[in-house]
């Protein structure tokens, strides 16, 4: 029995909003695996910044039929070499994961091992989810936990049975890591209140998990290459780094995957006042030849300041990130077909987002 016998569960979540949830999911898995006679530990990916709103972050559980000493030896890592199960707690993370580490925007299933499984908390139909999911060159399992994403604050835990559902779903796809009997017995022994509700949630997730076998190449192509970091001889001395050239953007650090909502612009209402461009803290607005402002969504963190400072009602409106599949810029869409754009805009704005933060008054 050695390192190759260790299984890793990766919990991918959003900073602050899901920090407690991710930690509690991991904690339960450790207890369950130990009840099954295995060694188990958990750890946060330390290069992440989970104390910042929405920043993608990861938690890991290591489980193995090895001694605890060895397991800690193998898992004294920033992150494991591979993972066997990924639990994605917000389906907008399928667009990519960029933590505070300088590793670029990574595909959600980067470290998934052959025959591994990824479970996504989502209300989207499976076929829509497949169109958002990066392909792998081997066969693996995609699972959909049909449930709303759960957000709360840093200190609060939204005890809404999401945790129990994630456990039930993992037991369904990988009973070798934790099985359903041990999920149930853990819930029974550790949770005193709302027991029936919790057990029902476990069962619903276990029985109702939508499962699809993903064949090699199935899904979308997600180009990712780890950045080449400089040697000590190549770096500037004195902790200095070159500035991004004027008008350019940092290719190595984008931060767009942080957002859980984004500004939409009604160009027909825009008065070209420049305030969004002036106030955007991440310089996401690009002036167009005719004086409007296009948005680089891959750099937008969704802070909402543009919507707050925009003086025109319903010109810039924050919408839930889950309503949009990618980071296509709006100006080109509007120029190409203003009628279609209006429809697109109405659709994006159809649902008012329940916000963990209140960024502005622009609606």
């Amino acid at each position: 029995m050695g390192e190759e016998d260790v299984k890793y569960v990766e919990i991918t979540y959003r900073g602050i909003f899901q920090k407690r949830l991710a930690k509690y999911v991991a904690e339960g898995l450790v207890y369950m695996a130990r009840d099954m006679g295995k060694s188990a530990v958990s750890f946060g990916r330390y290069g992440d910044s989970p104390e910042r709103n929405g920043v993608p972050a990861k938690y890991y559980v290591a489980v193995g039929n090895v001694s605890e000493e060895d397991l800690i030896g193998y898992s004294t890592r920033v992150e494991p070499e591979y993972v066997d199960v990924i639990a994605v707690l917000d389906d907008t993370l399928l667009k990519g994961v960029e933590s505070w580490a300088w590793q670029g925007v990574q595909p959600i299933n980067l470290k998934l091992r052959k025959d591994g499984a990824m479970i996504v908390t989502s209300r989207k139909p499976m076929e829509e989810m497949v169109k958002l999911t990066p392909s792998k060159d081997f066969q693996w399992t995609l699972g959909k936990l049909n449930w709303d994403r759960s957000f709360s604050g840093l200190w609060a835990f939204n005890d809404d049975t999401t945790m129990e559902r994630v456990w039930g779903a993992i037991a369904k796809v990988r009973p070798d890591i934790v099985d359903i009997q041990h999920v149930v017995s853990y819930v029974k022994s550790h949770k005193k209140d709302k027991l029936n509700e919790r057990l029902k949630a476990v069962e619903e997730a276990y029985e109702g998990l939508v499962i699809k076998t993903m064949n090699p190449g199935e899904g979308v192509e997600f180009k990712y290459a780890p950045p080449r970091l400089l040697t000590w001889q190549e770096m500037m001395e004195g902790t200095a780094i070159p500035a991004v050239p004027r008008g350019g953007r940092n290719e190595q650090f984008k931060r767009g995957t942080t957002k859980t909502e984004r500004p939409t612009v009604d160009f027909d209402a825009c008065i070209k006042c420049d305030l969004c461009w002036v106030y955007c803290p991440d310089e996401c607005f690009d002036k167009t030849p005719d004086g409007y402002y296009d948005i680089a969504y891959d750099y937008c963190v969704g802070c909402g300041i543009c919507a707050e400072v925009c003086p025109v009602k319903n010109c810039i409106v924050m919408v839930d990130e889950k309503r949009l599949p990618d980071y296509t810029r709006p100006y080109g869409m509007w120029k190409a077909n203003k009628v279609e754009y209006k429809k697109w805009l109405q659709n994006a704005r159809a649902e008012v987002r329940e916000r963990p933060i209140v960024p502005g008054l622009g609606r």
Binding site: E3, A26, E27, V30, Y31, R34, S39, V41, S42, F43, G44, Y46, G47, E51, S67, E68, E69, D70, I72, G73, Y74, S75, T76, R77, V78, L229, L230, T231, W232, Q233, E234, T239
Partner: protein, 412 residues
């Protein structure tokens, strides 16, 4: 002794220390957030809010004030917990130094973190090591269990009337502060018998005991005050031994021992497979964990490797270092710190080890490995490489003292 009330729960290193402070029934804690220390104060505040701990929780305006608060509280007889990381520790440095000279036995958790600049919250030991010369007891732990046990021991040792010296409990940022392991929590009644109430006696600042602490004295007194402090540091060795023995007697297990992990009975160091080893690795903190796996791997290939983990850095266990390293051919000291411009460009622990071995008639070669800075991993493969370098250097004249582990731009 039976331990009916013992239980096991999942805690990371910072939580484990906060739990230990609860078991030690601390009176005052002063807090100021900085990662990776922050979860200590988070956990303490939760324990207070949940009614499990009755203590003053004081939010300081910064780390300097934070350490001043606990120093004063300790001088009037309160048991205290404090902690910080990286530059927070340095910002408090003036208060930290006087805490030691005023002989206030506060217990400080240092979630080891790289010093700015550049910004990084990963582990480096240079933060805690900044006080290595000014009379703090310093200890490094490598599991959550050891963090809990050592924090309890720290109160017992620091508060002993023969010692009265503050204790810095260091743990690696990320690899221990943010990693959860199962911790055995003892029966609280047993803790009471292990840890007597804190009593400064005649050194307690109180209206009924009028004394003044820290006068201006200049050349007339300073040398004698340092000499006293030096003696207290030396007396701590015996007190540490007693405390570990007493811990074992009280709780029925040696500190750091869990259901799954056994600790050899030596308070100062953890020897691992040293008996027949040609190449012995030395390190502090969680680097011990990949080291042990790598040693097992290399032994399967016929390489006789071992490890000596330094637990107590102050007082430094020179005798144990001599005892366990005397028969090695090569000693590879892995420093998660740096001492730029030092002899042979080596790390801090390297110099301590090398100096400790000087009086041996036959000395092993001592190599310095600097790595794992700013939170970078020292992997099992890195350790295997270190052992290989040790083997290569065994039978040849020493050509190089210091290696940087896995740095971009140097061969590795």
């Amino acid at each position: 002794m039976t331990q009916v009330a013992e239980k096991e729960i999942l805690l990371n290193g910072t939580q484990a220390v906060a739990y230990a402070a609860m078991y030690a029934d601390v009176d005052v804690t002063a807090a100021y957030p900085i990662r990776p220390y922050t979860e200590v104060m988070d956990t303490i505040s939760k324990l207070i809010a949940d009614g499990q701990l009755d203590a003053e929780f004081i939010i300081a305006e910064g780390e300097h004030g934070q350490f001043e608060i606990v120093k004063h509280a300790s001088l009037v007889g309160a048991r205290t917990l404090v902690g910080t990381s990286g530059v927070g520790w340095l910002y408090a440095m003036e208060a930290i130094v006087v805490t030691a000279t005023d002989r206030a036995p506060v217990v400080a958790v240092i979630g080891n973190r790289a010093l700015d600049d550049p910004g990084a919250y990963g582990v480096e030991h240079n933060d805690a090591l900044m006080v290595r010369d000014v009379g703090w007891l310093l200890v490094w732990v490598d599991t959550a269990q050891e963090a809990f046990d050592t924090a309890l021991l720290a109160y017992r040792i620091g508060e002993d009337p023969r010692v009265l010296i503050p204790v810095g409990v260091s743990m690696d940022g990320g690899f221990l502060t943010h990693s959860e392991q199962i911790v055995r929590l003892p029966d609280r009644e047993l803790v009471k018998s292990f840890l007597p109430p804190y009593d400064r006696g005649k050194l307690r600042v109180h209206p009924d005991n009028p004394i003044s602490v820290a006068p201006q004295v200049n050349e007339d007194w300073v040398t004698e005050i340092r000499r006293q402090h030096d003696e207290g540091m030396e007396r701590a060795r015996e007190v540490i031994k007693e405390a570990y023995e007493s811990f074992k007697k009280t709780f029925g297990r040696y500190p750091g021992t869990t259901r799954d992990i056994t600790m050899p009975e030596n308070p100062f160091v953890e020897p691992y497979m040293v008996e027949d080893a040609d190449v012995i690795l030395v390190g502090m903190g969680t680097v011990s964990k990949p080291m042990k796996v790598a040693i097992k791997n290399m032994r399967e290939k016929g390489v006789k490797a071992g490890m000596l983990r330094i637990r107590w850095f102050r007082p430094f266990p020179a005798e144990d270092v001599m005892k366990y390293l005397a028969n090695a051919k090569v000693v590879c000291v892995v420093d998660r710190d740096y001492s730029l411009g030092s002899p042979f460009r080596g790390g801090v622990v390297y110099h301590e080890v090398r100096s400790s071995l000087y009086d041996l008639d036959e000395r092993p070669k001592v190599l310095s490995f600097i790595g794992g800075l700013g939170g970078r991993e020292i992997t099992i493969q890195d350790v295997e490489k270190i052992i290989k370098i040790g083997v290569e250097q065994r039978d040849t004249p020493l050509t190089r003292h210091t290696y940087w582990v896995n740095v971009r731009g140097d061969p590795w």
